[in-house]
Structures are given as structure tokens and as C-alpha cells.
Symmetry: C2
């Protein structure tokens, strides 16, 4: 097992009618900027619950953090926050609102001229405004980690921001908020959570049987509950989906093991160039990457086939092919496309992405052997 | 799933040669009291590594925290700490040293006349001295939770202390420290970790399939690695044992699920009256409790039989009997006794324990239905 250091200080407040806890989680002396996406929280009652809980707090609101939150939008929030001398941030929404708010938290404390520098060099982040979250969309895990992904329209870039300072102080997860989500967002959340686990699991055997079991536990649970989760009816099912999504990317299954993240790196480019929803890009890249990296990931693919998909018949080669097929079918079973052609994306985009990997010297994967030409191979397999 | 709140701020620093990290984890301005058990850390090199790492820090040493740390001993440490104006505690050892140090941390800040009051009423704990740990014995999970169990010789009591203030700031786990442990301590640690998981898992189906999978993941890993762990030769095996023990009792598998803890409550009394090592008491109580509570725990026992022990043949009744037998065999396979008679404990002690449960109105178990007379039944089954 590799040496590791783990710390996750976020307080998770989970369950029915927990939004009311906001009042006691944020000291009353604070000036809070509440950040939102579009208006869905006004329809599903979350906005009213938040405002009611904070009726004795001083609040300002920032609306309009978009899916794949953009630098351009977030700078407006930074200005509003500074203007109002905000000293606490509360993100209410899905991963995009949470990610965007992490950037706001860092940028509000940044003295330099160009906050985009924080994306290139996280060491510039020496302080952040403390933040809490009310999560309404299980998917990204942002509610219990310190990462964020920010896009910049001007340059068609999508980059990850990471600093241990960016853990939310608390996150409130009320599974009831998921009942009114658009179906395609539930589907994207299932795929996103599933692939988060695979990025930390589907590498090579690494002497951590416990972490393997925990990763497989999330994968199995997602496979089991997905059909019911898509119906958005059963509280316990939605609660488990929400718990799976958080546990998939909070460091709990990453202790001492190698990680991949190539699927995400490639997927981000599909979002950057075509605006495809993050989870949907993963469903395209993931099965193709498994195919192309079959030799490198052989032993772990076999374990995945046997333990997650209960494939026990056939040769190793057959088991591996079957589990890749089952993975793609799983994504399709929740209504998610798995091919570039289904989005009208063709070879020209593939070349743009390969060029970006080349220009930036991005060599990805757990063995750092996914070169730009292998990225091409993966994307061509996904056509 | 039940509503829950989860927070675990302890930083885990895990791996080979990590004790040297102490220097940067504790600010140099601090006066540190280092707490120890007997002298084993002087033989295995841990003492030298700790002192070397802290050579630029001001330190005082307190030696002699015994297994099942006693109030009487800990009060001496409290006095030494106050005398030296200690403002950081570093526990170096196994769960007893860690637990004892948690009590010292709270008692040093307590203004009342009788620190034992903190055991009866944890609300009296409003501040603690911050503490870090260097763990040398995987078993109790104390390195990443806020609990502690303290004994009082004068009254033959063994009580749990719990306050969220008592999480260690950091814990350093170097699996190499386990190579020189006495074999019976490794065995006790395996049993202790295993039963910690069962206390949180073997209750009733509770709509948290993910928590079930994670609990089963620890149990399966412990069963798989136990024979190799007993040899104390392989780094990765010992690392996984250490990781299992920490994950068994840090709240990660307790989210939204019911918990039992009757085995521990009964086991503590066996330690209080006969000084039997904590892990060994659990090996006595656990299989007997499964037998007696078979009807209440029916569904979960069946799941445990099928998923942890891969018992797929026979009637439900047969599967359950088999898994109870396998549990007892597992404890015996690491050299641990499972019967009261093997320790020369008889009916007189059983009556003393039943009386204590009666006097204190302790009704335990996940359904709060283990009355004193059921405690008798369990202990008689374990004779």
C-alpha cells in the first residue's frame, strides 16, 4: 500500500428536513452571500427553506451560476461579495454551484490582478472565505471535497482547482430535494458517481483489498439502485444514491491506492468544446478507455467483472469484454448516450483535443502512459 | 435511512517511516507531554523515532498508562501536565494509551473537584488540550474517533467517555510498528476490529445497502488477511490490518444505520471484574449474543452468512447457525478463547454482571431489548 495522508473536516448533515439546521451551523454575526444556479430551487421549496432558516442572518444573494460554472460569471459574484463585505458563503444547488462558490471563496481573498492565476497555481491560495453548502443534486461529490472545476469561456478551457482550504465547513444533504430533479440530471449524477469510483479503482492491483471492497461496494450499490433512483419516488433509494455520490469522491476510497482520472481529463475537453454535460462525457469516454487500456488494466478489469458484475463464466478475455459491455449498457440503461456520434461530435473535435493534450504535455492515467496518441485512439473507439 | 450528522476532522498520516512527520505536525512553540504505556516502544525503536522527530520541541514524558487505563494512573499524568503547563499531548502506543490521553486532555481543562464526573457527564467537558497520536497497535480505532474507555480501580468500573472535542488532531500510523507486537495483541486487535464492525452492522436491515457493503468489506478483509497478519511479516498485510482497524470505528460505516454495542457493554464488565483483555472479552460474548439474539437479528445474520462467509447452501436456520460457528472458529483460529470457562469465570461473575446491569438500568442492543435477564442468558451460553 502506498503511503498517504488523509483529512476531511467537512461536517455532513444528512437526512429529511435538515435544511433548518442552517440557522445553528452559521454564526449569526456573519454576512452570508448565498449562491444559486438557475431558478429550480424556487420551484422545489429549497429556496424558501433556506431563507426561512436564515431569517435572522444578514444575507445577499447571487444568482446565475451556470452548469460548468464560468470564470466570467464567478467574477461578478466575487465583486458582489467584496462590495457587501461578505464573510461566509452558502452554496445552494448542484456541483456547479458548489464548485463555483469554492472559486469565489478563494478569489475573494486573492490580492492579485487576475484571479484565473489561482487555477494555474493553487499555491497562490493562502486564505478562503468559509463556506457551507446545501446540496440538491447528487453527482460531483463537491459537497465533501476540496476540488472544483471551472470553465473559462474566453479560452474554452476547463480546469480543476484544488486546495485543502476549500473543504466546505458543512454540507446539508436532504434527499427529498432530489425528487424534483430533471431525469437527465439524475442519470448524469449516477454516471458521474460511478466513474468517480472507477477512476480510483480500475487501475492495477495495489495491495489494498479494503479500498477495493469499498469501491466495489459503491459500484454495486449504484448498479442495484439505479432503476429505482431513476423513478425518483423512494426516499431510501434517493438517500442511498446521495450517500454513494458523496462517498465516491471524498477521499474515503482513495487511501493508499493509485488513481487514473484520464476519463475525466478527456471528458472535460468534450464539455469545453461542445458543452456536453459532464456526466454524459464520462459515459462516452469510460467504456472506450477500458477497451484501449485493456492490457494495462487487465487484472483489475477481471476483478471488476467478477465482483461488481458477477461474471464468472468464460475466459479472462471474455469476462473483461463482458464487463466493458455491461458498463456501457448500464449507462445506456439510465438513458445516457455513450457515443460521440450521438452528439454529432466527429474527428475534427478529436484532433482539437489531441492537440490540446500535446500542447500542454498532458500524459495521464495511473501509469502516466496515456499519451496524446492514445487519447486519439480512445476517442476514435468512442465515435 | 436514519438522519445522521457526521464529522471526523482527524488527519491520518499513514505509511512507512511517517513518524518523522511529527516535527511539522506540532507547532514548535508547544510544550508537549508525551504519554506512553510500558516500555515496549523503547525496544522497537518507536521511542527513538519520536524523540528524534521532536528534538527541537519542549517535551515532558509520562510513562505507565496501563492496559485498560485507570483513573488513578491518569490523575498523576494530569498533575504532571498542569505542573509543566503542557499545551499539547502526544499519545504514543495502543488504544489504552490513546484513550487514557483523551481523558487527560479533558481533565487538564476541568475546574471541578472530581474529574471522574467527566465520565458520568460528558457535557462538563467544554475544552480539551489538543492531542496527536502515534499508534502502535491496531485495534480500538481510538486514533480516529473521539471515544475513550476508562477504568476505575476503586469501584471496579469501566466506562466510556465521549465528546466530539476528543478527536486527535492527527494520528500517525506506521504499519512497521506492528511487526514486533506480542502475538496475542495482534489477535486481540483482529477480534476487536471485527466486533466493532459487527456492532454497527449486525442489527436489522435498515435501507443502507452502501453501509452494509462497507461493513462487509472490512469483515471480509479481516477474514482474508488474519492468517498472514498473525505472522507479522508482510508490510502490506499489516498495513491493511491497520487500515481496517481504523476504519472499523471512525464513523465511516455508521452513517444512518442502527447500532448495537451490547457485546462491548457486556465485555467491559468481564474486564472490570477479571481484567480479561478487551478484545478477548468480545470473542466470548459475540458468538453467544448471536445465538441468543438470533430471532431479532435473523435477516442480518442471513446476509452476514451469505456475503461474509459465502454460505449459500441449506435452510436459513442452517446458514445462520453455520455463520455463528464460523465466527467463533475465526476467533479461535487466531488463538483467542471464546468461552468463560477457559478463563475460569463462572456463574458468580455472571450474577455480578447481571446485578450491575439491573442497578444501572442498562437495557442495551439496537432494539433496546437486551434486558439484564437476557444478559444472563448470553453469558450462560458463553460458559
Amino acid at each position: 500500500m502506498n503511503n498517504f495522508s488523509f483529512r476531511n473536516p467537512t461536517k455532513l448533515i444528512f437526512g429529511k428536513d435538515t435544511i433548518a439546521n442552517l440557522a445553528k451551523e452559521i454564526p449569526t454575526g456573519k454576512t452570508i452571500m448565498i449562491t444559486f444556479g438557475g431558478g429550480s430551487v424556487k420551484q422545489n421549496g429549497v429556496y424558501d427553506q433556506v431563507k426561512d432558516a436564515l431569517k435572522n442572518h444578514k444575507t445577499v444573494e447571487f444568482w446565475g451560476i451556470e452548469p460548468n460554472p464560468t470564470y466570467e460569471t464567478l467574477l461578478k459574484a466575487v465583486a458582489l461579495g467584496k462590495e457587501n463585505k461578505v464573510d461566509f458563503l452558502l452554496a445552494v444547488g448542484g456541483g456547479s454551484v458548489l464548485d463555483g462558490t469554492k472559486f469565489i471563496a478563494a478569489a475573494m481573498c486573492f490580492q492579485g490582478a487576475e484571479p484565473w492565476d489561482l487555477m494555474q497555481n493553487p499555491r497562490l491560495i493562502t486564505a478562503v472565505i468559509p463556506m457551507g453548502t446545501v446540496l440538491t443534486l447528487p453527482a460531483t461529490g463537491s459537497e465533501m471535497n476540496s476540488g472544483a472545476v471551472i470553465s473559462r469561456k474566453a479560452t474554452q478551457e476547463k480546469l480543476a482547482l484544488g486546495t485543502p482550504l476549500n473543504f466546505p465547513v458543512f454540507s446539508i444533504l436532504d434527499p427529498q430535494t432530489t425528487f424534483s430533479l430533471p431525469k437527465n440530471q439524475v442519470a448524469a449524477g449516477i454516471v458521474d458517481s460511478f466513474v468517480h469510483v472507477l477512476e480510483q479503482y480500475l487501475t492495477y492491483p495495489s495491495q489494498s483489498p479494503l479500498m477495493d471492497r469499498w469501491a466495489e461496494g459503491i459500484l454495486q450499490t449504484l448498479v442495484e439502485i439505479a432503476p429505482e433512483a431513476m423513478k425518483q419516488e423512494n426516499y431510501d433509494v434517493m438517500a442511498n444514491f446521495m450517500l454513494c455520490a458523496t462517498m465516491a469522491l471524498n477521499g474515503f476510497i482513495a487511501m493508499g491506492v493509485p488513481q487514473d482520472w484520464a476519463t475525466h481529463m478527456i471528458g472535460h475537453e468534450l464539455t469545453a468544446y461542445h458543452g456536453i454535460t459532464h456526466g454524459f462525457t464520462l459515459a462516452i469516454v469510460c467504456p472506450a478507455l477500458m477497451q484501449v487500456m485493456k492490457a494495462d488494466k487487465h487484472d483489475k478489469l477481471l476483478q471488476y467483472a467478477e465482483r461488481v458484475w458477477q461474471i464468472t463464466e468464460g475466459t479472462n478475455e471474455q469476462k473483461i469484454n463482458q464487463c466493458i459491455e455491461k458498463t456501457e449498457q448500464f449507462f445506456r440503461s439510465v438513458g445516457v448516450n455513450t457515443r460521440l456520434s450521438e452528439y454529432g461530435v466527429g474527428k475534427d473535435t478529436i484532433e482539437k483535443i489531441v492537440n490540446r493534450f500535446t500542447e500542454r504535455n498532458w500524459i495521464v492515467g495511473e501509469k502516466r502512459n496515456i499519451t496524446p496518441s492514445i487519447v486519439r485512439e480512445i476517442l476514435e473507439k468512442a465515435l
